[in-house]
Symmetry: C2
Subunit: 338 residues, 2 copies
DNA sequence: TTAATTTACGCAATCGGTTGCGCAATTCAT
DNA sequence: ATGAATTGCGCAACCGATTGCGTAAATTAA
């Protein structure tokens, strides 16, 4: 049981050369169908399994795609991953997934490890704190396809996949304004990240457009940690000018704000309207249900997967599309409409 | 730029043999410190990176752990994965993650692929429909560590990590009874899976204990797909004997039930008390907040990771613990208490 | 000083496929 | 029937690191 059988064994059994066996198994055109059939059949009989280690070594590729995400345990990220995995799996690639835990240090380490382990391509969504991108040059130098999704950065020749965060931020803010808000607070994540910086820009733009002042005290850069909800709500309560609208960069935080606001006696949406971001499952279930921006994570994963695969297989058509923007959509629910 | 440099290059530069270089890099005791230092320094200078393909081939191991989960995009599963990744990463292992999408077919395929790709160990949470386990014999035959978590099965020599689902089901039901429920419906997942079968057993046990009848019409085996909520609520509404308690095997489904029940005019918890399972984030946010069973996913991931690592490194101490049960905890919230 | 150990390193086989090149056998054109 | 083109396959050199075994050099013992 469990004796490893190699192409040499097959070759011997069939009285042909290992080279022919190898080519047969790979359906090489220079081998006659008759021979291929024989090889295939014996391979099946004997339970031959190709040794990936050897194949990898000689081909210098692993059929493996590396992924670095900030955190695995978020419904958004795992939905994206689900899409990536689907595509990768379809095309015979394995996915090696690692998380940076929002730390630049770990992200660098992971990038190194994945490089050493020989991934054929790398997909990255950046950590909260990353502000230097040297750890990716190893990849670009060796022409290993590198693609960023969601939390992207613009490195030369690196395609990115994201939504138009500025437009989305604009839409969210505009929606609040249309529903009567006059003094809107925006809770943002790290402004190092495009996703949050973009949304903030959109927020400002909407204010400009409506000739509302952009007040620094209304812009809160936070790590969106739920522990800070209370502190934030206290701040809202204490603010001089009555806050009547909140645009939060993330549904989970928004949902918890709503809970806390209600506990503090605010009526949502009558006193304060709240809009979130992502369309997490929680946004539908909370009451009042949370208006939000739909961020199609699964689709993003699918596209990221397809894009990287087509890079790998050398189709150049997608390569031209260096920046893919996915459409977002405003979902108006109870938390913003009386 | 980007010329691959090998131990042979290093050997030449240093006028020593490749073998010595290899041993130096691996800190082999038979090499003098002086030589090691030289090698290390030149390796650093030249930017040498060991070729894992070659190392894997000769060592016949990949420093890689395979994982098969039913779905990536669930908050519970991704939390478990997060824990596994943490440990794996700490010990220098990479994680290759694939999803069965609840299909036995895909699970088998994934098991094969991961085997071929040479994972050193495999972690599995079974698909909904899996009822035959032959695809794992490849692993057990070759003594490749195989461990099941959450949705487990008992194969010889395969450790499992889960909670005591029967006890948890018992606790949940008992909690409903204590709070006055007399006619409790249980919504279960596939009874092929230990997790659901166990919870059902616990449910029955609690009923027995309180001398309540176990009515078949009160036990619903479902795929827990949210699309079925309406149908289910209709059934509750139409039931002859008034249902006053529901024990749902999963928070997401439970939360949606609550929403739908309320929409249909039921008061929660006054008319019907509901308890879920998992302690998903959604359970805290919904109103009324959902009583549930805490299922420590992260901890499960950590334990699964540690267990498999210790198998791999040959520590036998954990090997004896063939079945790890993690403690659950009942969390009583508003949905069950007036 | 010489023999017995110990230390430090090199030789060469091995892991199992892959692939450029060359040659023989077969098929085709004339 | 004969040279030309095509087809089918084998030889052998990789891919780059690991490791059992053997031996020269250095150290210790006597």
């Amino acid at each position: 049981m469990a004796k490893k059988i190699t192409i040499y064994d097959l070759a011997q059994k069939l009285n042909i050369s290992p080279a022919t066996v190898s080519r047969s198994l790979n359906d090489h055109p220079a081998i006659s169908q008759k021979t291929k059939d024989k090889v295939l059949s014996v391979a099946k009989e004997t339970g031959y399994r190709t040794n990936k280690f050897a194949a990898n070594l000689s081909k210098q590729k692993s059929n493996t795609i590396g992924v670095i995400v900030p955190k695995l345990n978020s419904i958004f990220m795992s939905t994206v991953l689900s899409g990536i995995e689907k595509i990768a799996n379809n095309f015979g690639y394995n996915l090696v997934i690692s998380q940076s835990l929002e730390s630049q240090e770990k992200e660098k380490l992971n990038a190194k490890t994945l490089f050493d382990s020989g991934v054929d391509a790398l997909l990255v969504s950046l950590a909260y704190e990353t502000d230097d991108y040297d750890h990716f040059t190893t990849y670009t130098d060796r022409k290993i396809p590198l693609l960023f999704f969601d939390r992207v950065c613009d490195l030369p020749n690196c395609p990115t996949i994201s939504i138009d965060n500025e437009a989305a931020g604009y839409d969210a803010t505009q929606h609040l304004i249309k529903n009567g808000c006059q003094n809107i607070v925006h809770i943002s994540g790290s402004l190092k990240r495009n996703v949050y910086a973009g949304r903030l820009e959109g927020y400002k733009k909407a204010l400009y457009k409506n000739k509302f002042p952009v007040k620094p005290e209304n812009i809160i850069e936070s790590d969106l940690n739920i522990g800070q909800v209370k502190e934030f709500v206290a701040r809202i309560k204490a603010s001089e000018q009555k806050v009547d609208g909140i645009f939060v960069s993330n549904d989970t935080f928004a949902a918890n704000c709503i809970k806390e606001l209600i506990k503090e006696g605010f009526r949502i949406p009558e006193d304060i309207k709240v809009i979130g971001f992502n369309n997490d499952p929680v946004s539908e279930v909370i009451s009042p249900s949370l208006s939000t921006i739909e961020y199609p994570g699964y689709k993003m994963g699918i596209l990221a997967g397809q894009s990287i695969i087509s890079h790998l297989s050398g189709s150049i058509n997608i390569q031209s599309a260096d920046q893919i923007l996915i459409k977002h959509k405003l979902i108006a629910r109870e938390s913003t409409q009386i």
